[in-house]
């Protein structure tokens, strides 16, 4: 946890299929995310953004390249699914486009379950879950089921869940796609606050250019190639000014 980098990828390559059906979804992608840094990842559909998140999130192993999370080299060869799963629950938080809450758990239980999975006693995990929900402004909806929450509230609960294990890294895939612009911006600002307050690295895949000023760093991806987005960064800087 002392490593200043939340994430470092090097030469990350993902190839699907082989021979004439081979598709290179990710080409030699390298990225460094500091603790507390909020990174936006832009790019058209099919550019490889989600593949990048799946590789970094230890869900889909890369064909080549390394992934280092919180100073720990994770993807440098074959690892057991159990190891990867344990590392996910201890170090990574996920937020996705759709509200990905477990439908049979209330808001607080959706957050609490992550704490329990990393071995916290039930009461401690619940207290922590309540604190996070309060901090994210949905504490009063803690005992509501996901279907009783609005889209924005659901995303806030998802963010709370992503924070419940005090992760080194939060990966968010188009978290505002289902929200209107106001609520979308609120969620993006939430990520920035969370990253700065908790020292968590955050990578957000987004199409929403209206909130780019929220991000510290912006990357673009096209045809599997990852590069810093100069034009977008300039736009963001201008928006901030």
């Amino acid at each position: 946890m002392d490593d200043p980098l939340a994430l470092e990828t090097s030469g990350l390559t993902k190839v699907y299929g082989s021979g004439h059906t081979e598709v290179v979804a990710l080409r030699d992608a390298s990225m460094r995310v500091r603790r507390g840094e909020v990174v936006a990842l832009l790019g058209p559909s099919g550019a490889g953004k989600s593949t990048f998140l799946l590789c970094v999130g230890l869900i889909n192993p890369p064909t080549r390249g390394t992934v280092t999370i919180g100073g720990k080299l994770m993807q440098d060869g074959p690892r057991s699914l159990g190891d990867l799963r344990r590392f996910r629950r201890e170090r990574i938080g996920f937020v996705f486009q759709k509200s990905n809450l477990i439908p049979f758990l209330s808001a607080i239980e959706n957050v609490q379950v992550v704490g329990e999975l990393i071995g916290r006693p039930s009461s401690v995990a619940r207290r922590r879950a309540k604190e996070l929900l309060d901090a994210l402004g949905v504490g009063r909806r803690a005992f509501n089921m996901p279907t009783q929450l609005s889209g924005g509230e659901q995303q806030r609960v998802t963010v709370a869940r992503a924070l419940a294990n005090q992760p080194s890294l939060i990966l968010a895939d188009e978290p505002t796609a289902a929200l209107d612009s106001v609520r979308g911006r609120q969620v993006m600002e939430l990520f920035r606050d969370v990253a700065h307050r908790h020292g968590t690295g955050v990578i957000v895949v987004t199409h929403d250019h209206r909130a780019l000023d929220v991000f510290d760093t912006i990357y673009e991806m096209e045809d599997g190639l990852l590069k810093p987005a100069a034009s977008a960064a300039a736009k963001a800087t201008a928006a901030r000014a």
Binding site: R85, E90, F104, E109, D173
Partner: protein, 403 residues
């Protein structure tokens, strides 16, 4: 936090309905076992009730419960004289069907060896044993007769003086107890016209033979009551039951009667074994096969239900994998649901069964051993049923939660 309980709580209505359905199925499995036990118990209630140490039946037959056995009444005195025998009684059992209050009344007619046996050993729930050697009866409550009710059987009317519970024949018909004389009178009752026709036929036959023509007395006898004819036997009894002196070895008494060429003897346990291996055995095997089939069907249904419940949860399961839930948490979620369903269904089956079985026309006797055995089977079924769901859950990839 118990994820299985949370998921059940979330889809409570469907889970409850499914559990009730499975419970009803288990109730049927329970009931089939109970029907078998009831069948055996009903079959043995008479043999155990009469308390016989030895059954003496017609030579080379298997006794009154398996086939027709006819013995002369005089055999009772012969057996009573065998060393080691305390007392010997007639045993008469047959089934009749009459009409009573406009409905068919089917009953087993059991003859008690008056005056030594007045029915004191019967499971009386009301009334008293027989107090006179004619025109009284003790009826099983399943026959629907009340104390003091009068019933015409043959040419006589009998009064119900006692009521029993669960005294039924192996066919399930309630038993009514009479003195053996009355039981035989009911069995061999013939309408007056039939008797007149028989006498007429007898007279015609006597007229046609020389002996009849030369001996007028024979013609007179032929027109008289049957019992006055030496050539015609008195009504037969089904068996003779003997009680032995304390400490007497039944085998030794059997040996001493083995030289009699007109009878076969069985000890009490032998008679019970014959009864169970004979008329009850086929029903037992049939019920056993039904139980096995129902148990398999229950297992298949439970497996499908658990599998369907798992299919409904594939997205949450993928999500749990995504946030790093270990395999045992996910497998535990499915296994626990299966076990909870199995245990609750068993409870539902038991509760409904205990209220429903007494209303069945035949006795359903659910024993504790059978209940424990079924509980074990349900646990095994629950575990097996969850395997299909667990297998499906293990194949779900965490990235399916994202798509």
């Amino acid at each position: 936090m118990n994820l299985a309980v949370r998921d059940i709580r979330h889809s409570l209505g469907r889970f409850v309905l499914t559990t009730i359905g499975v419970g009803m199925l288990l109730m049927v499995v329970m009931g089939m076992g109970g029907i078998y036990r009831g069948l055996v118990d009903d079959a043995l209630v008479v043999t155990r009730g009469v308390g016989a140490d030895l059954w003496v039946v017609q030579r080379d037959t298997r006794g009154p419960f398996a086939e027709v056995s006819r013995l002369p009444r005089s055999l009772v005195d012969r057996i009573a004289a065998v060393p080691g025998v305390t007392d010997a009684r007639e045993f008469v059992l047959h089934t009749i069907q009459r009409e009573h209050r406009g409905k068919p009344l089917r009953m087993g007619v059991l003859g008690l060896g008056w005056p030594t046996d007045k029915g004191e050993g019967l499971p009386l729930i009301a009334g008293r044993p027989l107090a006179q050697n004619h025109f009284e009866m003790i009826a099983d409550e399943s026959l629907g007769l009340g104390l003091g009710e009068r019933l015409r059987l043959g040419k006589d009317t009998y009064t119900v003086v006692g009521l029993t519970r669960w005294l039924v024949a192996s066919g399930g018909d309630g038993i009514a107890c009479f003195t053996s004389r009355d039981a035989q009178a009911i069995q061999f009752h013939e309408p007056g016209e039939s008797i007149r026709l028989e006498r007429q036929a007898r007279r015609a036959r006597a007229d046609e033979i020389d002996f009849g023509r030369t001996q007028p007395g024979v013609l007179d006898r032929a027109s008289g009551p049957a019992q006055s004819l030496a050539a015609l036997p008195s009504p037969a009894i089904s068996a003779v039951i003997a009680r032995l002196m304390p400490g007497t070895d039944p085998a030794s008494v059997q040996r001493s009667m083995s030289g009699w060429s007109d009878v076969t003897t069985y000890t009490g346990p032998q008679q019970e074994e014959l009864l169970l291996k004979g008329s009850v055995d086929r029903a037992r095997r049939q019920i056993l096969l039904f139980r096995v089939l129902l148990t398999i069907i229950s297992a298949v249904i439970m497996a499908l239900i658990i599998y369907t419940l798992t299919l409904d949860k594939l997205h949450p399961i993928a999500l749990l994998k995504l946030i790093g839930a270990p395999t045992h948490v996910i497998a535990g979620l499915i296994l626990q649901q299966s076990l909870i369903m199995g245990v609750l269904a068993y409870g539902v089956g038991y509760l409904i069964g205990t209220r429903l079985f007494p209303l069945f026309p035949r006795r359903v006797l659910v024993s504790n051993d059978d209940l424990l055995r079924l509980a074990g089977i349900v646990l095994v079924i629950s575990v097996l049923a969850s395997l299909l769901g667990i297998w499906k859950a293990m194949r779900v990839a965490p990235n399916e939660a994202i798509g």
